[in-house]
């Protein structure tokens, strides 16, 4: 029987090399960075933002990032609302904005734990900054798709087909948004991609369910919110 216990000497012998965290050198943003500088950084040099997350000073830009997200996603929401018009002009942007925020908040605790399990040593505030920057990128991409969606809105008559177009647009935008988040985590020490993939699935399911919870976003209804609770798959089958 081995009666020796874990000691400092064992520690030295058993110590494995911890990979040192290196964020590629990227120019830091000025303290009073303009909105367009942040948009540029999100699209062209995400390493800049990862660097700020690592130094835990992204909070200086948090309001602006959130503003980018809110304005862009609301602009996209207006295009979604234009399909049905009337009350949806203001209901759709509001629901899309609030729904995305709520889904992100609901999934934030699990993101924190799963990212820590994947090896990223980030404080909640740092992770929140990274998530905000990902949401800002989502908003930018969605607003980029707005003209495309606008053209389809005037050509398509059925809700289900228009819904599919919006799902495609969201799918592409989320691919890059979640890619930004995953790359950020990988840069900041996350070694296990599986954890982030699992969280991505959780977030996507929550978003899809949120779109059903807050329906109608695209079509029309007598009430602002649904009176009947449904799971998103059931709702989709019913809509087809």
């Amino acid at each position: 029987m081995n009666t020796e216990h874990l000691t400092d000497t064992d520690e030295q012998e058993l110590a494995t090399d911890q990979p040192e965290l290196v964020v590629q050198e990227a120019p830091a943003l000025p303290k009073q960075a303009k909105i367009m500088q942040l948009v540029d950084a999100l699209l062209k040099t995400p390493q800049t933002l990862y660097g700020h997350v690592q130094r835990n000073d992204l909070h200086a830009y948090l309001v602006k990032l959130f503003l980018i997200f809110a304005v862009c996603i609301s602009a996209y929401g207006l295009i979604v609302g234009s399909f049905s018009g009337q009350m949806q002009w203001f209901a759709a942007p509001l629901k899309i904005f609030l729904g995305t925020c709520l889904a992100a908040l609901l999934c934030f605790p699990s993101l924190y734990i799963l990212s820590a399990l994947s090896g990223a040593d980030l404080r909640p505030a740092q992770l929140f900054g990274l998530l905000c920057s990902s949401l800002a990128l989502l908003g930018i991409l969605l607003s980029g798709f707005a003209p495309v969606a606008f053209i389809f809105t005037f050509s398509i008559n059925t809700v289900s087909f228009m819904g599919s177009i919006h799902l495609l647009i969201w799918g592409i935008s989320l691919y890059f948004c979640l890619g930004h988040l995953a790359n950020g985590l990988a840069t900041l020490g996350s070694g296990n991609k599986l954890m982030i993939k699992i969280w991505t699935m959780i977030f996507l399911i929550t978003l899809l369910q949120m779109s059903t919870t807050l329906r109608p976003i695209l079509g029309t209804s007598d009430t602002l919110l649904p009176t009947e609770k449904k799971f998103f798959l059931t709702h989709w089958l019913d809509s087809l």
Binding site: E11, I113, A116, T213
Partner: protein, 230 residues
């Protein structure tokens, strides 16, 4: 105690990283208390979300019982787990093996608590307890929670395995297997004694079932199997 509470967030991050946990094992310095706080806090938060669908009182009961279940399982198997670890050549004493199990339970409690907002979101969509489709709702709620508990359990044990690998090398798998077997063996019985957790819709809300120490989990499973074969 106050210091431990203020340090809870960095401790959660360390708990998620096996590399840091070796330091916890080497010099305890209040880490048992941190694990205890996390088990109590995380278990209570998730426990409340388990019971709330049945009734608010059930939520209070399960918020007490779930951390209790985790703690009693860890303490009940502490002695045998420590012995088995030493038999399998793990360089750990009793205190360290108990702390290792407590760490994995604390991580489990934290993981479960992190999924509580999502369970709340699911609850929002379920038909209420008083509705005609309460059985469907109960089934869906059960299945979702089994998935969450299963997933969290796998992650917590995987983390424990990584820690054991650093300390015990090749015998880590065997040690984890015997610890897991012991914890499941006692945990299943304790969860039987402490039931109900989810709260069957047709039964009244109670802290424990009538005569909770009459019978065992294994006896029930055996009788069920026997009846289905007859």
């Amino acid at each position: 105690m106050k210091r431990q509470i203020s340090q809870i967030e960095p401790n959660i991050r360390q708990l998620c990283q096996a590399q840091e946990l070796r330091d916890w094992l080497r010099s305890d310095s209040g880490k048992s208390l941190v694990c205890l706080l996390l088990i109590l806090g995380g278990g209570a938060i998730y426990g409340a979300s388990l019971g709330i669908w049945r009734a608010p009182l059930q939520a209070v009961f399960v918020a007490i019982k779930l951390p209790l279940l985790l703690l009693l399982t860890a303490l009940g198997t502490a002695l045998i787990n420590g012995m088995l670890a030493q038999l399998l050549n793990a360089p750990m004493n009793f205190r360290q093996s108990l702390l290792a199990v407590l760490m994995s339970f604390a991580l489990l409690a934290v993981l479960l608590a992190s999924f509580t907002p999502l369970i709340g979101f699911l609850l929002f969509h379920l038909p209420p307890m008083a509705s005609s489709s309460q059985k469907d709702a109960h089934r869906i709620f059960l299945l979702a929670n089994v998935a969450v508990i299963g997933f969290s359990g796998v992650l917590a044990n995987f983390q424990l395995y990584k820690l054991l690998q650093q300390i015990c090398g090749t015998s880590a798998g065997r040690i984890l297997l015997v610890w897991l077997s012991m914890n499941l063996f006692l945990g299943a019985q304790l969860s039987w004694n402490l039931r109900p957790f989810f709260g069957t819709p047709s039964l009244p809300v109670t802290f424990l079932r009538e005569d909770p120490f009459n019978g065992s989990f294994y006896e029930t499973v055996f009788n069920l199997a026997k009846r289905s074969l007859q």
